[in-house]
Symmetry: C2
Subunit: 152 residues, 2 copies
Amino acid sequence: MNVETILRTKGRAVATIGPDETVGAALDELISRNIGAIVVSKDGESVDGIISERDVVHALAAHGTDLLSLKVAEVMTQRVITCDPADSVEQLMAEMTNRRIRHFPVVQDGRLCGIVSIGDVVKNRLDEVEFDALAALVHRRCVRTRSFSTAH
Amino acid sequence: MNVETILRTKGRAVATIGPDETVGAALDELISRNIGAIVVSKDGESVDGIISERDVVHALAAHGTDLLSLKVAEVMTQRVITCDPADSVEQLMAEMTNRRIRHFPVVQDGRLCGIVSIGDVVKNRLDEVEFDALAALVHRRCVRTRSFSTAH
């Protein structure tokens, strides 16, 4: 199970915002799209930063009332940890746990091609558990059917 | 694997804040404790609400600059989804995915006794994966040792 598997279910659309936009505009994007972070990109392909709900909360404490008119570049996380479609979900979970990061832009050949959140990882695990439960049920029914066939 | 298992590793300490405290005070707690949500409680035992980074971001968009002096009760999520120590991790993952919630206060006999975040669920899964890998390694070594013993 790897990042590519998650993208196949989730899709590759990624919301981005320019570094010169205001924090107020970033806030509108986060809320209207119901997402926890937005990739900062000059051209929609490079990853120049990321601005998350956590960044906004920290910036609110630091800048108070001036926050909304600041530029995204002044508030965003600059050192972004990205992942590759081939990275395993286990690697991603380890990074999420050790670095306390919730969103990973996915980059392939230097271009942004998706984003995976901690919510996507949990959904993926839930799908796995449900699939396993269904497979076990089907297996039990098959075994039972074969037993009946043998009995007749 | 259930909520109790996670609490055994994580501990049962829960940060709370009173509903009459200011959002500014809640912000200080979120940042100084490096947490994503804080339970709102009059007495430290009841769950009267929860205030998360997401609540702060939404309130910032709605109230702008007045936010920091508002009361926690005016901004918090009032209808809190809680869980029981006996709830399975699968149930928790389903709630997290379907309701897009990241923090569940744990309540037993009407009293707050822990909090489980989406980060805790991922850490728990990572521990499980690492334990399974270690168990498989030990198993392979045991089998190899038995083969050697047989050969001699």
